[in-house]
Symmetry: C2
Subunit: 322 residues, 2 copies
């Protein structure tokens, strides 16, 4: 293979993406804002093959039709979008262990988009790459950039993309991932979002809330105010989960241990430790810390909840070709 490997890192939304205005194009109701993380990433290589079918390897395993469907559907979209008809051999290796409690779709589709960009010599700029990645998975649009990233909701395919806010922030922020369960969630984020949009009486207020919290967190990022970033992130995440509770019928991604971790974090915070939770569409908890507080929080959680796994991550980079 002459092409390089495309590497994309995962990201954690601090101001959440929760609700699609256009399901097909993955255009959200609101902007969202994330932090790209080091340590968890996907490496993807692709080459053109003389076949009318893509061949997809994930972690050295050739995926069957059912397992590769989401990826080959995406490649069909890419072929149609750019008007070429080549098929690909794709080799993707996920360094986003399920045990780290992150979804791999953000880094996965960002790396795949970047890899096709290279193999097909599309010469896409980052904005176009973000649009391309978004069509695979909404949150993948943000993994094009490092550091703090905002996904502009937009109103059409061409206007919905991520922009860097601060790619290499000089800020003392670490993220502790607390993994409660590695099971596949019962309610996918796609259907969770859909139920929230359709049935939560609070959804219109959520849209208003996000727009003001995005502005506030950008100020806090500019001021390198980790505590304020934490406060805003925690409030935004909990408000997202309030949408699931108030959906009809009500549902929640919280497990009993999720509540326990929230309690532990509040207890540490009352002792002056900088720690704020954020939670995605699942039971696992991520904790916004400083480098120093991350160690304290990790030990406290390990001591109190020996059954969970904890991993510390730091701020990561955007797309790389290696």
């Amino acid at each position: 293979m002459a092409t390089k490997t495309a590497r994309a890192y995962t990201n954690i939304a601090l101001i959440k993406y929760w609700g699609k205005k256009d399901k097909q194009l993955k255009i959200p109701y609101t902007n969202s804002l994330s932090l790209t993380l080091d340590k968890f990433y996907t490496d993807t290589k692709s080459e053109i093959i003389d076949s009318d079918k893509d061949q997809i390897y994930l972690n050295d395993e050739l995926l069957d039709d059912a397992k590769s469907k989401r990826i080959t559907n995406y490649l069909d979209f890419v072929r149609n979008y750019f008007g070429f008809d080549q098929h690909f051999l794709v080799k993707s290796v996920n360094h986003v262990p399920t045990s780290a409690g992150f979804a791999s779709s953000a880094s996965g589709f960002a790396a795949l988009a970047a890899s096709i960009n290279q193999t097909m010599k599309l010469n896409l700029d980052n904005r176009s790459l973000s649009i391309l990645a978004r069509n695979g998975s909404g949150s993948a649009s943000r993994s094009i950039y490092g550091g703090f990233v905002e996904w502009i909701a937009g109103t059409s395919n061409d206007t919905s993309y991520a922009v860097p806010i601060d790619e290499h922030p000089n800020i003392d922020l670490s993220l502790l991932s607390v993994v409660i369960s590695q099971d596949t969630k019962k309610i996918s984020s796609t259907s969770g979002m859909e139920n929230s949009v359709k049935t939560s009486p609070f959804y219109d207020n959520w849209v208003t809330l996000v727009s003001s919290e995005i502005n506030e967190i950008k100020q806090a990022i500019a001021q390198k105010d980790v505590q304020k970033i934490g406060e805003l992130s925690e409030h935004n995440a909990m408000s997202m989960h309030a949408l699931t509770l108030s959906a009809n019928p009500s549902f929640t991604y919280f497990a009993p241990e999720t509540i326990r971790v929230i309690q532990l974090v509040k207890s540490l915070r009352s002792q002056g430790v900088l720690a704020y939770v954020t939670i995605d569409a699942g039971p696992n908890v991520k904790i916004i810390c400083t480098k120093e507080s991350a160690e304290i929080v990790q030990k406290y959680i390990d001591d109190n909840l020996p059954a969970v796994t904890t991993v510390v991550a730091n701020i990561g980079n955007g797309i790389q070709y290696i």
Copy 2:
């Protein structure tokens, strides 16, 4: 003592009271709708004493100034309201065991208001009695009546009172109380409400929601549709808890076991068992069942969570003088 004992039963709100428009007068932002329960009640007797101080006995213990303050403040209000100056010996016995997971303020203030009504020969009708009880504790306004009761929010002291919806409903509905913790909650419902009203971005939508769910549940009650009553009650309770999650800072009354009980109820429901949860400002869960399903749910929870206490209650009566 010549006077009879006033007995008031506790009630569970199916459409919740969450937020005071007037803190002093305890006038809520919304109507609420409750079910009065048998089994849990307060018995209160009062007599005039020749003293400038009230004497309050609770469960045969004479309360000191600190412990009796809420009650003597209330009696001061009553004296001022009706323009008399007598003081009272009050003997109150709570048959609302903390272990049943119910607050005793609803039955407590309803029984106290009824007892003073009798001792002072005030001849209050039930509406006036409900107003009087409300001034002790908002939810006490509803314990004047049996069965299904609506508390009309009103806009002033004289227009905020409960009305009976169906005092003796011929409906197959039982309530299973699941007691997770008997500890005093860290955030009182008064300050939980206040934080929600002031800081939840969803509060205005809650007010709209309650007004439509009150109408829907009254239809379901008229149709004796227990499943619909359960669905509406569960959604309303969860939406109330969504207000606490989305408050700023976020908080929750849920304990880890609260989530576990919700999971167990959902699991039973998916097997066709009629069971819906409602949760007040604390970790304990009440489950709306039929007589038949209450037994199944109680056994399932006892088997899966041996540490919790479960009690079944049925529909109770309004104020009685015995």
